[in-house]
Symmetry: C2
Subunit: 135 residues, 2 copies
């Protein structure tokens, strides 16, 4: 079962420029910033209630985030729903024949994650995330 | 102060088609469906935790939602943050010289609302909403 909106992913040209609006003007606190080499992004999470805004800066213009930036100039990229069992959600999606990007959960900034294919929803990229305990 | 993600707005071709994914496959319950004549949309809200997914079907191809659908084939359209005083948030935005679409709060599906201009954020349309009591 999907519990809440975990985050909304937004592609930006530069994190530092994006902070001027999301952190400084809107007042959302940055809770995490990390480079995710295998996804080719520098990412930041900003807290809003029980959810987050995820800012994604591509590290090169050739990956998916880089191409999105080049094509659209940045903007809303995906919506991520939290679950307490991402593997179970993925199995349920398979049983419903929902097109997938990931056939198995993998580690991402939000924990164990997977992406459904945007053709499932006519253009909306949907992510599932199961946060990992951070003690 | 912004309290939470109130909803994520998604443009769709037909609500009934979109329900097959968002309601039937993902299991999100529809909590409201309404025609908003002055915005030229048929809209639905689907509950996810303390937030909602807002599906927007244009009533004609000439308005903003209709043009978005024609240009992009639908998809993520805006993100809405809840506040308990939308007029105060709007004043704060004006003082920070954030470009606006609405100069004053107006009534929308989510209560009293206003939109910031996407040029404020390099392409992300941001809405503020103050839900109205519904007794």
């Amino acid at each position: 079962m999907l519990k809440r909106i975990h985050h909304v992913g937004i592609v930006v040209s530069k994190l530092d420029d994006a902070y001027r609006f999301w952190r400084d003007a809107l007042g959302l606190p940055v809770t995490k910033e990390a480079t995710i080499e295998d996804q080719g992004v520098r990412a930041a999470l900003l807290k809003i209630g029980d959810s987050e805004i995820e800012l994604l800066e591509p590290l090169n213009p050739e990956n998916g985030i880089g191409k999105f930036l080049a094509k659209r100039g940045g903007g809303l990229h995906h919506v991520c729903f939290e679950t307490d069992d991402v593997a179970r959600e993925l199995d349920a999606a398979k049983q419903k024949a929902i097109p997938l990007i990931d056939q198995a959960p993998r580690k991402g900034l939000a924990g164990m994650i997977c992406f459904l294919h945007p053709k499932a929803t006519r253009g909306v990229l949907v992510e599932y995330a199961q946060p990992l305990d951070e003690h």
